[in-house]
Amino acid sequence: MTSQHREPLLGAYFGMGVFFGIVLTKGELVSWFRIEEALRFKGPYLYLVFGSALAVAAPGFALLQRRGVRSLAGEPIAIPPKVMGRGVRYVAGGALFGLGWGIVGACPGPLFALVGAGVGVMVVVCLAAVAGTWTYGYLRPRLPH
């Protein structure tokens, strides 16, 4: 599918990505050791990062979603609610992702940052992840959601 749509502010998104990549690496969120430390409940670092991130994001989201606030691109700001359905997808999908996360020691954001940081074999993890998403798309009509 093609479109004549021109995405505004692509440079700003790239800049935010660079910033996020630096935060992920300097903040050690890409560190396999930090992730496994947290998943083995041997240290509070990752949980403190999550907590303080939410302490900024939650009020930030609430402020931005007040009536009448518009983005720099000019649209009204609203985060669409996720559909609960029977909730199976959140339990089962979350669990399958969690298994992969625990084994690899990196979630999707850090995977991309680790490629940039020169951990070459992470390219294979990324490609396998794309294959996993493709397989989900293929099986989707037959899976409970």
Binding site: Y13, F33, K42, A58, G100, L111, L114, G137, Y138
Partner: protein, 189 residues
């Protein structure tokens, strides 16, 4: 202060708020939701949609911004992980060091243990299952669950969405189980 930010790892009270700021910034720039795993779907839609309904959408309109963002993350990974690399081994707790030592991992330098993530390990059965199997589960699970640590863990939780809380509890529980029970079976030895 600047010196410390450039050469030392950032503490949690710097890192966490900045992650939150990225999510707020994307919403403020263009009403975009912070979430990385959707890019895996956009890549499928762009390069191998087949006849699969899940991949039939205008990925340029809904996903180009995000692919550009993730390109930035790769570049930022180079800046933060190579140019401004943290010189010292990561300061995980002594309890974590002892726990990882049971896997045979005693060198805590670098971003990942060199003995686990290299091309040679990929050619072993255990290493292949860890790297390819783990990656596949990440891609399948995030698509099925509709998000990852960023989309559910930050965006969804910060927006007080119950489905995201369920997903977060589920992936933390499964991640803990995988680290404790599966990882020991897959670490090369």
């Amino acid at each position: 202060m600047i010196e410390q930010l450039v050469h030392q790892p950032w503490p949690w009270y710097v890192t966490g708020p900045l992650v939150g700021l990225v999510a707020v910034g994307l919403l403020a720039i263009g009403n975009r939701e912070f979430g990385v795993s959707s890019n895996l779907r956009h890549l499928c839609a762009a390069f191998a949609p087949g006849r699969i309904a899940y991949f039939q959408y205008d990925w340029r309109r809904s996903g180009l911004w995000s692919l550009v963002f993730i390109g930035g993350v790769v570049a930022g990974g180079f800046v933060g992980g190579v140019l401004l690399a943290n010189a010292q081994p990561v300061a995980i707790t002594p309890a974590a060091q002892a726990s990882l030592a049971t896997l045979g991992i005693r060198d805590f330098s670098g971003l990942v243990p060199g003995e686990l993530f290299n091309w040679h390990v990929l050619l072993t059965l255990r290493g292949f299952v860890m790297i390819v199997g783990g990656g596949f589960l990440i891609g399948f699970g995030t698509a099925y669950g509709g998000g990852c640590t960023s989309g559910h863990g930050i965006t969804g939780l910060a927006d007080l969405q119950l489905p995201s809380l369920i997903a977060v509890i589920s992936f933390f529980a499964a991640g803990a189980a995988a680290s404790v029970f599966l990882l020991p079976l897959l670490v090369p030895r």
